[in-house]
Symmetry: C2
Subunit: 438 residues, 2 copies
């Protein structure tokens, strides 16, 4: 039930992947079944192809607000009943809003799958949205924003960095929304949003667990399949970011900051927007550059030059529109952020000029794929990978073929994308510093 | 016929002002008559209360594009006829699009006022918008953008600075629009925009010159008065900018740059959004700080410390929403932009800590008011002041009372607004530098 960035939903990285079933109900709702028979449990998720980046103008935060309201009950199942049910079954539930999607999930013993499907279907269409429900929940969201962002300089800086990076595209607007717009969200907004986006054409059911595909299909037809079609999926209309030619440095100084940190974010192509192979090359490049303590940035900045106590990089592949690559670090005591920033520039230039060794390169690819296989040990993570990918326009084949595409990446590909995309003019750098240093 | 910022339309600064007539036609159109009998000429302007900041999402540039299209002719008066008429009369014409308004004007011998009113009324409702007209003009606008912005690093930097300053409010979108959105503008967009905004309720007629108010009123009823009312002025719905807590530095390096320059822009209240007296105090403050060679910045940075070859500041008061205060400068040879930036910080801190002398303060106010009186010597400037003010929600009384309000500003007011609004966390600094320096 929290606003969160897409950053923690990495690519599913399996090879060979599980045998996935994918079908579409007559009303347009997608159904995906992922067999996982290690325990008699099932993970049930419904993904809607709308996230904070689809919030209408002046209504930032409505996607996340609606996610909160989805727990407020229906006529048939009053507030609290669904959550109590999951708890009584010894299950887990959660929901999350990203820029590209909103999702709801429960993990329960397999024999209760039908029950959670009935409840989830019910709140897809029968949500009760009265002023009595909506108004107090808005205060809850405002308090969540104050706690998570407005009192945390690090979160504030990230918000300002994203806002500078995406001045036009709505990825620059925080998922939770701007405070002054959250304050205006009311029942009419919630209702209009719910009616526009909570439709079968816009939804994806993902079930992972110890289930037979044909059973899930039958249950899906009996529950979600009964929701009338609306005729078409809602349109996603988003302003796209113009190409930047100017680097932007965002500096936030605050007395609450004890340790200076630096983040730099580049706009780069996502799996969905990239030329063939480019997203995979970016993934390998980010890992070589900043994945762990054997990475180029860590070795140069932390081990060799002792300028940093930490440094890394990562790439967010799953994104409907152009996405981001992060470089970050914590300078060593006595190293100013300005000097650290220059050292990062030098390390990146060196990374580009010095081709990775064949040994490092092969190790990076092996590690990436292995990490993905390990991560699939979590059933929820497995379901989440597929859900996030499908909700951002990828196909199941693209997901299951990911590891093969990673293995096809060459050193030239990596050097090529580094040279092309590590362009500071496309980037925003954020300095978080103690107030005294400002 | 150009996209231009509001920056060049300063406050009208008269005291006592001319005797202005203001009335509203039955269809909702405002009529303002400003007597100016020095020559037998008349300036005729129509202002629409829509500018680039009212462009619908994904349609940036449509206000400016429509301004171009307004010269494309009607059934009654084919393309070129209106312009030819004005030229034949020895007159002048122009049009301009700001973030808050779009305006059209002609200056002709007074006996031809009725004729230009007839033509302007005609194109308020009868514009011919076919693909044959719209598509080639879009290429003209794209070429205008390429010439004016994309090949001028200084213009590119200003665009990037505004975009970083207003990441949410549409003042961050260039008036001419983003290239990738201009490319999508078509006949349907132009037509929808024209029908929405080119209405009598949304228009203001300003006539300045050697005319009798009752004659203008009669002519207005016979021309604009015949346009049917639509019922209400179109709504202006703009996202507002959240308060920034992080300074942003935008750096653009380009081989075409020969001289490094610096601009810093603060978000500050406009005449319309300010608390009483605050906008006037900002105006006086900007003048003391950076109006000419006797100003604090010029004295400290250019004359005393020899760090700059130029420095100044100005405030844009007329703005529908929160507005901007600029500080700018050109560093002396051998002075880096980083050092110059720090010197500006020091000069601003000194300005705040050192109260202006009574003599400087009185001189600044006298000069501001005198400048305004001199500027009114231009009939077009006079008409433009009133038009811009009315189109951004000010009243005629606010305009004519401006000089009195300036005189009421105290030194405490100036120090107060400087302390409150010269907050770097609300500001964006832009560095324009030669490529080699990058």
């Amino acid at each position: 039930m929290t606003a969160q960035s897409n950053a923690d939903t990495a690519q599913p990285k399996s090879r060979p992947g599980p045998s996935i079933t994918h079908l579409r109900l007559e009303n347009g709702m997608d159904v995906v079944v992922i067999p996982d028979r290690r325990a008699p449990v099932v993970t049930h998720m419904v993904w809607y192809r709308n996230g904070a980046a689809d919030d209408p103008p002046l209504k930032s935060g409505i996607a996340h607000f609606l996610e909160h309201l989805m727990f407020k009950g229906t006529k048939r199942h009053p507030q609290g009943e669904f959550s109590q049910l999951v708890a009584d079954l010894g299950g887990q539930e959660n929901a999350f809003t990203g820029h590209d999607y909103t999702a709801y999930f429960q993990r329960v013993p397999r024999e209760h799958l039908a029950t959670v499907m009935e409840y989830e279907t019910d709140r897809m269409t029968n949500l009760v949205l009265t002023d009595e429900v909506v108004t107090p929940e808005r205060d809850v969201v405002l308090e969540e924003r104050r706690m998570r962002t407005d009192s945390d300089p690090s979160a504030e800086l990230s918000e300002a960095v994203q806002s500078a990076l995406f001045a036009h595209h709505p990825y620059g607007t925080p998922i939770i929304g701007w405070e002054h717009e959250i304050e205006t969200l009311g029942r009419e907004d919630a209702l209009a949003y719910y009616q526009r986006f909570y439709t079968p054409e816009n939804a994806i059911l993902v079930v992972a667990g110890d289930v037979e595909p044909q059973d899930v299909e039958r249950l899906a037809r009996e529950t979600y399949g009964m929701v009338p079609a609306r005729g078409a999926a809602p349109e996603r209309r988003r302003p796209q970011e113009p190409v930047s030619r100017a680097h932007r440095l965002v500096t936030l100084a605050d007395p609450k900051v004890e340790q200076a940190t630096l983040e730099r974010v580049y706009i780069v192509p996502s799996v969905r927007t990239a030329a063939p192979g480019e997203s995979e090359a970016l993934e390998v490049m980010a890992h070589l550059l900043g994945g762990g303590q054997t990475s180029a940035l860590y070795k140069r900045l932390v081990l060799d030059r002792k300028l940093a106590v930490g440094a890394g990089a990562y790439y967010l592949g799953s994104s409907l529109d152009a996405t981001r690559l992060w470089v970050y670090g914590v300078p060593a005591p006595g190293v100013s952020l300005q000097d650290f920033d220059a050292a990062i520039d030098a390390a990146l230039a060196e990374f580009i000029d010095t081709r990775p060794s064949e040994k490092d390169f092969v190790r990076a690819k092996t590690r990436l794929v292995a990490d993905a296989v390990y991560a699939q040990d979590s059933q929820v993570a497995l379901a989440r990978w597929y859900g996030a990918a499908l909700a951002t326009g990828e196909t199941i084949e693209e997901v299951t073929g990911w590891a093969n595409r990673i293995e096809a990446v060459t050193i030239d590909d990596v050097v090529g994308v580094a040279r092309k995309w590590l362009d500071k003019r496309r980037a925003v750098t954020g300095f978080l510093q103690p107030e005294a240093q400002a």
